[in-house]
C-alpha cells in the first residue's frame, strides 16, 4: 500500500474479508439456515463498508431493509419449511457444469483484475475525498445540504423525483399484485 495506513483502510480490509468469507459460506455451506445467516453477515459487513466510506445513511438503510426485513423473512420461511442439509458435491461431477464454473470464475477474475487497474480521476483513491467530490459535483439543485441524510433526501426528492415516483408506483403495483394472487382462491369460491 503506497499511502500511510489509516484506520479507514484497516476497517475496510477487515470488513471486506468478512464479506467475502461469509459470501463463500452462503454458497458452500450445507445447512440452509447457516447459509442464510452468513448472507446476513455479508450484508452487515457491506453496510460496514458503506459506513467506512462515510455513507452512513446508505449503511443504515442496508441494515434496516436487507438484514432487518428481507433476511428475517427468508430465515422465517426456511425455518418453517425445515429444509434439511443438502450435498453440494454433485455439481462437480457434471462436465457441463464444470466448464460453466471455470468460465464464470474466469470472467469474474478478469473483472476483478480490470477494476483493480482502473484508476478513476476523482479524489486519488481516498474514499472520503471521493465522497466529498461526489457531494460537491453532484449537486446542481441549489439546496443547502447539512448532512448525509439531507443530501440523500435532496437528491431523491429534487433531482430524481420522477424516477422515485415511478419506483413507488412499481412497488404499489407489486403489493397489489401479491394481494390479488394470495386472494385468488377466495375470489373464485365466492
Amino acid at each position: 500500500m503506497p499511502e500511510e495506513l489509516q484506520p479507514q483502510s484497516i476497517l475496510f480490509f477487515i470488513l471486506s474479508g468478512v464479506c467475502i468469507g461469509s459470501s463463500l459460506a452462503v454458497v458452500l455451506h450445507k445447512n440452509p439456515v447457516i447459509s442464510a445467516v452468513s448472507l446476513v453477515l455479508s450484508f452487515f459487513s457491506l453496510a460496514g463498508i458503506y459506513a467506512v466510506m462515510n455513507a452512513i445513511f446508505i449503511a443504515t438503510m442496508q441494515v434496516i431493509v436487507y438484514t432487518g426485513a428481507i433476511m428475517v423473512l427468508v430465515i422465517f420461511v426456511i425455518m418453517l419449511l425445515s429444509l434439511r442439509e443438502e450435498t453440494n458435491l454433485e455439481i462437480w461431477r457434471n462436465p457441463v457444469k464444470q466448464i460453466a464454473i471455470v468460465f464464470v470464475v474466469c470472467i469474474f477474475g478478469g473483472i476483478l483484475v480490470a477494476s483493480m487497474n482502473f484508476n478513476p480521476e476523482i479524489g486519488n483513491g481516498d474514499p472520503i475525498e471521493s465522497y466529498k467530490f461526489l457531494i460537491q459535483n453532484g449537486q446542481n439543485s441549489g439546496v443547502e445540504v447539512k448532512g448525509n441524510t439531507a443530501s440523500v433526501g435532496a437528491s431523491t426528492f429534487l433531482q430524481y423525483l420522477l424516477p422515485f415516483e415511478l419506483v413507488s408506483i412499481l412497488l404499489t403495483v407489486a403489493v397489489i399484485g401479491a394481494v390479488v394472487i394470495a386472494k385468488r382462491d377466495k375470489l373464485n369460491q365466492s
Binding site: Q6, P7, Q8, N31, V33, I34, V37, V40, F44, I56, F57, T60, M61, V63, I64, T67, G68, A69, V72, L73, I75, F76, M79, L80, G147, N148, T149
Partner: protein, 352 residues
C-alpha cells in the same frame, strides 16, 4: 481521524459498558423488589443490606453453573444466538446521548486535544434510524435460539416472537415519523434540542405518537402484557427453554438492557430528554450536569413503569395482539403522520 480521538471513544465505550452492566444488574433487583411490593411480599433482603448484593450473588450463580448442551442442538448457532441478542442490546446504547456537551478544564483539554466532552459515544447522521436498524437485528438472536434448540416449544416461541417483533416495528417506526417531522432531524441530540420550548408529548401529534410508541415499546422488548414469546403457561418459557447457566443470563441481560434503552429513547423523543425544565440553568456551567440528572430521573420513571405494567396487566391472546398491531396501531400512526405534517406547517410557527 486522530488516534487520540479513537482512544477517547474506546474509553467512553468501555465506561458505558460498565455502567450498563451495573444498571442492568440493579434493574433485575429493582424488578424483584417492585414485584414483591405489588404482590405484598418482602422480596430479596438476605444478601447484604436491603438485598443490595443480590445481583452479585445471581451473577456468580450463573457463572458457576454447569454448561449443559441438549442433544442434537446446532452448536454454533446455539452459542451465537445469545451473543447476537446481547451485542445488539449493547450496540443500541452507543447513540443514546446522556446529556449535552461538558466543557473540559483547560489542562485536560490540552492533553486530549478537544475542548468539549460529548456524552454520546456516536452521533451518526441517521440517529434514530440506526436504533431501528439495531432493534431489527435483535430478532436474529431470538429466531436462531429457537431454531437451534431443536425443541418444539422453543421454535414456537421464536416464531411467535419474530412475527410479533416484525409487526410492532411498523407502528414503532411510523410513530417516530411524527417526532422526526416535528424536530426536522434524525439525530437524537437535535431532537432533544428541538424540545427546549415545549416537550413533544404536550403537542397533539406528539401525544398520539407517544401512545402508539409506548404500546409498541412493550411489544418490542417482549415484556408483559405482550410477552407471548415466553408465555410460561403455554410454551414453558419459549425461545430460551433449552438455555441455562450463563447463556440464559445473556438473554436475561439483553432483555433488561433493551428496557433501559427504550426508557432512554422515550425520554429523549417525547419528554424533553436532557433539557433542564424551563431553561433555568441556561448558560451556566452546571447546565450539562443538571441535564444528566433530569434525564436519569425520567429514565428511572419509565424503567419503573415497565415493572409496574408487568405486575399489573394480564397477558394478551395472540390474535388480539396481532389485531392491535395491524388494525389499530398502524392506521392511527398513519393518521398521526398527516396530523403532524399539518401541525408542523400551520401551528409550529406560533409556538416554537
Amino acid at each position: 481521524m486522530d488516534w487520540n480521538l479513537i482512544l477517547v471513544w474506546a474509553l467512553k465505550s468501555g465506561l458505558l459498558f460498565f455502567i450498563i452492566i451495573t444498571a442492568c444488574a440493579y434493574y433485575t433487583l429493582a424488578e424483584r423488589v417492585v414485584a414483591a411490593f405489588i404482590q405484598d411480599r418482602r422480596g430479596p433482603n438476605r444478601a447484604g443490606p436491603f438485598g443490595l448484593f443480590q445481583p452479585l450473588a445471581d451473577g456468580i450463580k450463573f457463572l458457576t453453573k454447569e454448561e449443559v448442551f441438549p442433544t442434537q442442538v446446532n452448536k454454533a448457532m446455539y452459542l451465537i444466538a445469545p451473543g447476537i441478542s446481547v451485542s445488539c442490546a449493547i450496540m443500541s446504547w452507543s447513540i443514546i446521548p446522556f446529556g449535552g456537551t461538558i466543557p473540559l478544564h483547560n489542562s485536560i483539554a490540552e492533553l486530549v486535544g478537544f475542548k468539549e466532552l460529548n456524552l454520546q459515544v456516536a452521533n451518526p447522521d441517521t440517529g434514530i434510524l440506526f436504533l431501528l436498524a439495531i432493534s431489527s437485528l435483535s430478532v436474529y438472536g431470538i429466531i436462531l435460539a429457537g431454531w437451534s434448540s431443536n425443541n418444539k416449544y422453543s421454535l414456537m416461541g421464536a416464531i411467535r416472537s419474530t412475527a410479533q417483533m416484525i409487526s410492532y416495528e411498523l407502528p414503532l417506526g411510523l410513530s417516530l415519523t411524527a417526532v422526526i417531522l416535528m424536530a426536522g432531524s434524525l439525530k437524537l441530540s437535535e431532537i432533544n434540542d428541538a424540545q427546549k420550548g415545549i416537550w413533544f408529548v404536550f403537542t397533539l401529534p406528539g401525544f398520539m405518537a407517544f401512545l402508539i410508541f409506548s404500546v409498541a415499546m412493550f411489544a418490542e422488548t417482549n415484556r408483559l402484557p405482550f410477552d407471548l414469546a415466553e408465555a410460561e403457561s403455554e410454551l414453558v418459557v419459549g425461545f430460551h427453554t433449552e438455555y441455562g447457566a450463563f447463556k440464559f443470563a445473556l438473554f436475561f441481560i439483553a432483555e433488561y438492557m433493551n428496557m433501559i434503552t427504550m426508557s432512554c429513547v422515550v425520554t429523549l423523543l417525547f419528554f424533553g430528554g436532557y433539557n433542564v425544565p424551563f431553561g433555568i440553568l441556561e448558560g451556566s456551567s452546571y447546565n450539562a450536569l443538571a441535564g444528566i440528572l433530569f434525564f436519569l430521573l425520567k429514565v428511572v420513571f419509565f424503567a419503573f413503569s415497565f415493572m409496574w405494567v408487568r405486575w399489573t396487566l394480564p397477558r394478551f391472546r395472540y390474535d388480539t395482539l396481532m389485531n392491535i398491531g395491524w388494525k389499530k396501531l398502524i392506521p392511527w400512526a398513519l393518521i398521526n403522520i398527516v396530523v403532524s405534517a399539518v401541525y408542523v406547517v400551520y401551528w409550529k410557527g406560533s409556538i416554537g
